[in-house]
Subunit: 147 residues, 2 copies
Amino acid sequence: MINPFDDTYFMKKALQEAELALAAGEVPVGAVIVCNNQIIAKGHNQVETLNDATAHAEMLAFTAATNFLGSKYLKDCTLYVTLEPCQMCAGAAYWSQVGRIVFGASDEKRGYRHWQCQVHPKTEVKGGVLADESEALLKTFFENMRR
Amino acid sequence: MINPFDDTYFMKKALQEAELALAAGEVPVGAVIVCNNQIIAKGHNQVETLNDATAHAEMLAFTAATNFLGSKYLKDCTLYVTLEPCQMCAGAAYWSQVGRIVFGASDEKRGYRHWQCQVHPKTEVKGGVLADESEALLKTFFENMRR
């Protein structure tokens, strides 16, 4: 049986969030959190809009998801995010004990794996889903910046 | 000339925040952010109250401070926090480029230094200010938990 709700499907939703960030002049990173094949939270980078260095896509999505569920834990949820989480967002993932993290592009500079940071030992991590699409959005942003 | 606004003075204010957390049944950690000898933001751990694993004292204080200043950077500010920041909060400190971090008790289990995490290279860090008072609050909390 075909499952339309696969990792690619939800990463496309995260990419739509990243596009909202791009349209707002933000570094285009988007995230959705999924529980039982349903999107329960969305977020896109709003650091400039909110003047808040903590307003990464994942952080906003974590807060929205825990608010929706009424639980500080996200053990049965999957975070889809277009870019590898940074140290801060990996730390938030640790505290939320999110069940799975699926990310798009790797972040060689600020990604948590390159900083030897940790997510929760029970969290499954998969990278590289629609990485090219995520990188294309980031490239567009930085090209616009240089103009 | 005596300066009443020293690190001990502001750490006492952070401890008052930690006491608010304790009274609310939260792990007692408190924080204040200071700019030009003025407290511009306060925060105490609200993870249980808000059902949000990201609602650490420092995170709430960072968001409040950047909101107050209208800037995502806190280069001329000092964060006073009663417990050594975790990976997430150290990551937030990195992004905010906070000028100084003064903390109370060390956190051997979850502290950012024990996880080989980073704050911004320009951030000055000082630990051990009123560490005993901070530890006493934490001890009270965990003793209450066991009862």
